[in-house]
Amino acid sequence: MSEVLDRPSVRQKASYKVIGKPLPRIDGVEKVTGAAKFAADYSLPGMLIAKVLRSPHAHARITRLDVSKAAAYPGVVAVVTGEDLEGIEREPTSRMQNALARTQVLFAGQPIAAVAATTREAAEEALPLIEVEYEVLPPVLDPLEAMKPGSPTIKHEGSEAGVHIDRSEEKIHAAGAGELEEEDVEAETNNVSSQVHFKRGDVEAGFRQADAIVEGRWISSSVHQSYMEPHATLAYWDASGTVNIWTSTQAQFNVRDSIARMFHLPISKVRVVGTEIGGGFGAKFGVMAPIAVLLSRKAKRPVKHVLTRSEDLIGATPAPYTVIDVKVGATKTGKITALKARVVMDTGAFPGAPMSIGTILCGGSYKLENFELDGYEVLTNKASVGAYRAPGAPNVAFGIEGAIEQLAKKIGMSPIEFRLRNAIEEGDKWPNGNALPAVGCRAVLEAIRNHPIMSDKLGPNEGRGVAVGAWPGGAGAASAYCRANPDGTFQVITGTINLTGSTTALAQIAAEELGVPMALVSVVTGDTSESPHSPAAGGSQITYTMGHAVQRAAIDCREKMLALAARRLEVDKSQLRIEDGVVKASNDKAVTYKRLADQALQSTGPVVGEGSHRPGRPFPGFAATAAIVHVDPDTGAARIKRIVTAQDAGFAINPMAVEGQMQGGTVQGAGMALTEELVYNQDGRVANPGLLDYRLLTCGDLPMIETVIVEVPAEAGPYGARIIGEPPIVPPGAAIGNAIADAIGKPIYHFPATPERVFYAVHSNGKR
């Protein structure tokens, strides 16, 4: 089948009956009635509750561990420690595979032992009975310090030189990074787990051509994905040897594969039921699943492990603290002549930071003849990081977009014109050498330029800022079934987790191709043993990849139904058309899908359509944001007065859902810019492990979030659709930072721009 199924013209778009329409989510009623079942809502007979003992120290050696008293506590059925990992597949640098520390503690909050008991109370009471003695080691918390010779070195248990680092999960999020050209520049640098270097042209010559140069260091703090549902897993290693796992994950097939590999099981012996998921944003790829599995294996009973919010903030996989040094030059006429950037990403105790893609995206939005980009992934004694919605991209955007805004002002050009003059286009290459297909960088900037927010009159202490950013997106293999039911309804069956409302888009696609109203199509997410293979709901890829598979399954189903109708109505198939679920023939005869499906059950057999798809390449998405911010001159508190995000959706299959993604991404970016920060004390402990002190933006902090959808069709996407979920988190934080800088007349270099930081930026050039 050809790659390009459909690249809709304006006329085609107008003829669509279901796609392109802003329809409410098909799972909305389950959500507002409490019927939707999330992982922690599942229970099994005989189920035990798990609790985890975590290290209070950020860096230590375990010199003694005795769990005998805890194991003997009434109600306790099983206790597991690092010893229970014996015989399990274990790369030294894999956080998931090293679910429990054995002799080395590498971050405060790292699991040391886990208890399964008949009640939560018994499990909680047993934890303090576990005896642990530590030899406390000095931690290293600042990645810049960690890189220096002589700083404490992070050593993974069982690691030797040249260990393989598993980067398969990163590729799910950013297939666009392709084969990363990793070049060892200084292979022996302390605590550097990975390094990249990208170069084009001659930067020094480029800087000589520049009429103006901006240089600075931008820091973005570690933030937590803060999905409202903490990690939750219910595992049951049953008597037949099958491991059943109900878990909150974006990627049930990845969890299946990871657990099968870890425990040396055939994948037929691992069944993962990806439940409704209360937000993931990149963090839920199975990292917490092994503890419940280990406990269930030992206890021979179902075990439920739900993290508390505090455990999740301390011990899950936040987004990286990032330091980016930028030097960028331009001519008076607004041409960028050279860019030099150095990205240092704090990966915490295990590798896996989105450093490579972050470094590439330093040159993601602009035509660059001369650049030198260096990236360092640095180990520290903190919880290792995970993906967070366009991982790494907002962090580098603070620096790149902050510098670009300053540079535009320096050469006396409007920041948006300056960006437009250099905007990357089809055929231009990203720093890793990947040539871009048609992209909407220019289109989103134009949408912002033309928006009323750009001509709003600013009041006292108000500033305006803009920013642009991109995300490459994933491109996983997808398959789907479409089943015709004898009552005239249809069921689409996939194994993709409904993370973002993608099932609604999939239902729209199926309804469109089948020629029926949306209400006749339901979408079922099967578990990993019953559903066709599906990609992870990560890398913004479900509509882009699974959309094709569902389109093909629906077309296959429709064509089979039409073949039945042709025979029944005694006309050639080409003489048939479908109107609202009724197949009509040129001879004025007609038959409903209901009759056809029912007839099929009695004659040729049930009708099932199949669709399978593997995108040739990812299709990057761009977004741009403009913000107007008010800064209280007495307190430094910044408040968003107005904010607009424009995004290239390729083709918005469901504009309401696309807007929802844009608004959510914008506010998450705003949180990074204004309030969110995991604060580590000098011992390496998280000082704000609760949602009172880890401050998410509330409804009371925000205005309405305005959106502009632009559509530059993605050739490889269904109906031209491209990735949606991740691009809108990339520019908002930087745009807000630029707006604050505009309001106070001083740059902002450290995010979140808390009142304290803004106050000091105003009064003492950022120094306390």
Partner: protein
Amino acid sequence: MARQAIKLKVNGQNVEAEVEPAKLLLDFVRDDLGLTGTKEGCGTGDCGACTVHLNGRPVHSCLTLAVEADGAEVTTVEGIAQDGVLNAVQAAIVEYGGTQCGFCIPGFVMMATAFLRDHPKPTEDELRMGIAGNLCRCTGYDKIVRGLQAVVDGKELALTKPGALTDIPLPPEPEGE
């Protein structure tokens, strides 16, 4: 500690139970009554996902003991829709696109239902502050607020109509086939 007998009404039904004095109302409704629509997002009263009505007032069930509900009427999200018909807050949140992952939504339904009952004509600022104790990570709140404004404005909501959740618009059988 000795268990304590409690008698209460939950979603209109009489419930009698013996509970540990330290048992949270949240765990009582979820674990003992199987009403898992009420969610634990933080356990410290910061996120609002566990909001239920205790004698009509919205409370954090994660900060309320089950014994405090002795003799009280408790309503959870499962008790909001009546006879298969959504209330206006539920319908508006769905129709205006206010649900994404939906984990926070039961808390929003409970809080907004109580807030709009007590403050039927809030300004946008009042409405925002009225539900500011409920955190949502997916939506940026925009579509939740717009949905609730539609309730305030008395806009027609299709999902509040009887049969809206069950009727499927099958095409009529053509004649003469």
